[in-house]
């Protein structure tokens, strides 16, 4: 990719007292890209994001957004990005519309036609007080305020929390449209299916360490799949071990479960030498893929 990155984290470290929340993390996201930031709770996702926003400051290292330093140019960066925080809190005594008006007044440059259009798309209710909303409805206000000024970069922390599946779909197509129009989306999530569905690239963070960054398409190519074979009689696991593409094979009675990447042919060739009763195949969750491929890195991070 030749474009300058629209979002760049450069050897970022953040400590809170003795606790290192983010440890020497570096990655870059380019225009037109949806970047999934994946990791379990407490891995350092929100800390990284809050540093990008200049809500907290790096212990060392730096963050750049649209080529500007997150600390020095915070105000200019904020003008051009949209942010949806995790665990969204708004002012309970304002209605949805008042909330948006308040933030629009502070921000400037809001296209209300676009806001109305968006709000219709995700079915937001703007006329009641935020304190009376369900968490899903509050989240919709959060989405609207992040999108309302057509930002160049979107930073979204657990955005689909509380949204029903239909709204999630609509939201994800909105993300895709944004990226196709040249925007950049930084999507933090612990919901694997969400990242799988929309991200172009995905970074995997664990205990403050960035374990790996992978293209989604490449991940799918080498994506592990899991096959479960049921035989008429027990088959020794050794028969499947060492086969091309097979990562792991376990036997439980007459059932063999194997994880493999690439072509299924060598595995099936061996299997059909026995009496196969049934075959079931499924994709392996993204985090299992990471854990499998980056076992050493994960172990190092756990220490």
């Amino acid at each position: 990719m030749t474009d300058a990155p629209s979002l760049e984290v450069d050897h970022l470290t953040k400590r809170f007292g003795d606790f290192t929340a983010v440890d020497d993390v570096s990655f870059a996201i380019h225009p037109g890209e949806i970047f999934g930031f994946l990791g379990p709770n407490g891995a350092g996702k929100s800390t990284t994001i809050r540093t990008l926003l200049d809500l907290i400051r790096p212990t060392s290292g730096a963050c750049r957004v649209l080529g500007m330093d997150s600390r020095r140019d915070a105000v200019e960066i904020h003008r051009r990005i949209g942010f949806l925080p995790a665990d969204l809190a708004l002012w309970n005594n304002l209605t949805g519309r008042q909330t948006l008006q308040y933030l629009a007044n502070l921000r400037g440059g809001v296209d209300w036609k676009w806001v109305d259009q968006l709000s219709e798309r995700i079915g937001a209710d703007l006329d009641r007080k935020v304190g009376e909303y369900s968490s899903g409805n509050r989240q919709k206000i959060g989405i609207l305020q992040a999108f309302m000024h057509r930002p160049e970069v979107l930073i979204l922390d657990e955005p689909i929390t509380g949204l029903d599946p239909l709204v999630q779909l609509e939201f994800h197509s909105l993300l895709r449209e944004t990226a196709d129009a040249g925007g950049t989306v930084f999507l933090s999530s612990h919901t694997i299916s969400e990242v799988e569905r929309v991200a172009d690239r995905v970074g995997f963070i664990r205990r403050g360490h960035l374990i790996a960054v992978e293209r989604m398409s490449e991940l799918h190519d080498k994506a592990l799949r899991r096959i479960t074979l049921e035989f008429a009689a027990p088959v020794p696991a050794a028969a499947f071990e060492g086969l091309e593409g097979v990562h792991e094979a376990t036997v439980e009675g007459a059932t063999v479960t194997a994880q493999y990447e690439g072509s299924m042919a060598p595995l099936l060739a061996v299997a059909t030498q026995h009496d196969v009763l049934s075959v079931a195949s499924a994709s392996v969750d993204l985090d299992e893929i990471f854990l499998e491929f980056y076992r050493d890195e994960v172990q190092a991070a756990e220490k």
């Binding site: 926003l53 200019e76 942010f83 925080p85 665990d87 809190a89 308040y102």
Partner: protein, 550 residues
């Protein structure tokens, strides 16, 4: 400045400030009307007052009864209310948005922290100045409708001094909150400073050469230069306003150099202090770990910080008062003898020349009620606090009935005032022993019991409001407002024999109709306070069981 933030802050705060102004107006009106009704008697009182005394309390002889009452409004109740509003706004300026978690959205806007702080700070200044001006105008109104005149009283100058002092305290809270991000810490430390400087400016001048030391207290400058009589003394006003600007710069510096809080994931103030290596050990010893044994024990231990800090403060003051009395006891008698009933009313007509009277005037009439009511109200509002924090959903999913949860929370309302009362009695006992004052031990025990009784009533009132509405803020603010009114009714109505009977309506009257150090336990008053507290708690428990939770 950000107009939207400024206007929203005003919008969120004007009602609270308006309630404060109305309360001040009511107290001023009540006092002026009571004095005015005395006719020539009041004039005689003032005429009989020694010149030295008039100058101490900042009243001109021409000011008359109105001047006397307004001296009280500008030097005591007004600054507490108006500085309190300013401190609460300043402490919440940025730290409040952090605590609520809304800073995450606000902080991602293309507006700098500096401008946010400026907008919030100016909103606080606007409310403080507006409330002070409106209150002063309302005093004028109170005088006019009572048929009195404002001749000889410089309302404007008194207001200028009041505003400068109130802004100073607000600026302290602003700086503390901007540096730490802890709203509760900033407001409680600043309120502590207000109370300390109030006591310092009142008590230090009683000592030889103490007047000079009293000038270090910001509170002194409300009345020290007697602005109501002499007009604005610009030097201290300029110094105070200069300090306000300096503190605002300190706040700006602190805010721009630190990480902002995230709200939702925040840990409670005490837990954060406990993890701080510098103060952690002391805090842990003071607070212990909250008991998780049951709802009632947890409710009591949750109230522990305010209960113990407040109790320790009042006990400490009681010891100091004991020592002070030994030092100046002889002189104070002659000064107090010359005071008119009107002033003595504020401290309950006690004879300050005896240790019992001195203790009653210095501790039992203002500080002890303040502490016990604050601690009891915080314990009483805790039930509604569970709704605000939404932890109530988890609590009520337990196999415990709703009324039972409420009743167990109510236990804290009974226990907390007793602990504060014990602190008061312990402080009196130590002061009595150290100063060799020879007060009766039974009277000291009775004082502790009466303080507890007052706490029961107001704690139960907060509990009932909170249980019935689910709004912790209504419980706290409503009870505080009623407590101020009750105090005013008890302090000023008895001055005029025609109105004196009405003071019986005030719960403070049942607590303070006689000095327990001399008269022992006032069983009638204590019984009434306890019975009403029991009724209020029971009503709260029933209401809590019947309504939809928030």
């Amino acid at each position: 400045m950000l107009r939207s933030v400024y206007l929203k802050t005003l919008r969120d705060r004007w009602l609270g400030a308006a309630i404060g102004v109305v309360a001040l107006f009511l107290v001023a009106w009540m006092g002026i009307a009571a004095f005015a009704g005395m006719g020539d008697d009041a004039e005689d009182f003032i005429a009989a007052m020694p010149e030295a005394y008039l100058s101490i309390v900042g009243i001109s002889a021409e000011g008359g009864v109105v001047g006397m009452m307004l001296g009280n409004m500008f030097n005591f109740m007004g600054p507490f209310v108006i500085a309190g509003i300013g401190v609460s706004m300043a402490a919440a300026a940025i730290a409040g948005e952090e605590a609520e978690g809304t800073m995450n959205v606000l902080g991602s806007l293309p507006r700098s922290r500096t401008r946010l702080l400026t907008s919030k700070g100016l909103a606080a200044v606007t409310v403080v100045v507006g409330a002070a001006v409106l209150a002063s105008l309302s005093y004028g109104l109170a005088a006019v409708i009572s048929g009195e005149t404002l001749a000889g009283i410089n309302l404007t100058a008194a207001t200028v001094h009041l505003v400068a002092v109130a802004l100073f305290y607000a600026a302290v809270a602003l700086a503390l909150a901007a540096w730490t991000g802890l709203r509760a810490l900033a407001s409680s430390v600043t309120v502590g400073l207000i109370v300390l400087s109030f006591l310092a400016s009142g008590m230090l001048p009683l000592l030889d050469g103490g007047e000079a030391w009293a000038k270090a207290s910001p509170w002194y400058w409300l009345n020290g230069p007697q602005p109501m009589l002499n007009g604005v003394d610009w030097a201290p006003v300029v110094v105070l306003l200069g300090a306000v600007v300096a503190l605002a710069l300190v706040a700006w510096w602190g805010l721009n150099r630190r990480d902002l809080g995230a709200g939702g994931a925040r840990t409670p103030l005490l837990d954060r202090l406990r993890t701080d290596p510098r103060v952690g050990k002391a805090v842990s010893m003071l607070v212990g770990s909250g008991s998780t044994r049951g709802i009632a024990t947890k409710a009591v231990t949750d109230a522990r910080p305010l209960m113990l800090i407040g109790g320790a403060f009042v006990a400490f003051q009681a010891v100091v008062v004991g020592v002070l009395f030994t030092a100046i006891g002889g002189d104070i008698g002659s000064l107090v003898d010359s005071m008119p009933d009107a002033i003595l009313a504020m401290i309950g007509f006690v004879d300050m020349s005896t240790p019992e009277g001195f203790y009653s005037g210095e501790v039992l009439s203002i500080v002890a009620p303040l502490v016990v009511i604050a601690a009891a109200v915080s314990a009483g509002a805790a039930l509604a606090g569970e709704e605000r924090r939404r932890s109530v959903a988890v609590l009520l999913a337990l196999p415990v009935s709703r009324t039972s949860v409420a009743a167990r929370k109510g236990v804290a309302v009974a226990v907390v005032p007793v602990v504060v009362g014990l602190c008061v009695a312990a402080g009196f006992a130590i002061g009595n022993a150290v100063g060799g004052l020879g007060m009766a031990w039974s009277g000291i025990a009775a004082s502790g019991l009466m303080v507890a009784g007052l706490g029961w009533f107001f704690g139960a009132l907060a509990f009932a409001i909170g249980a019935a509405t689910g709004r912790a803020q209504w419980a706290t603010a409503g009870t505080a407002g009623l407590a101020v009114l009750a105090w005013g009714v008890n302090a000023f109505l008895p001055v005029n024999p025609d109105y004196a009977e009405w003071a019986r309506l005030s719960p403070v009257h049942w607590y303070a109709s006689e000095n327990p150090l001399e008269a022992g336990v006032l069983w009638g008053g204590l019984g009434l306070l306890a019975a009403l507290a029991a009724v209020l708690v029971a009503a709260g428990v029933v209401a809590y069981g019947r309504r939809d939770l928030r």
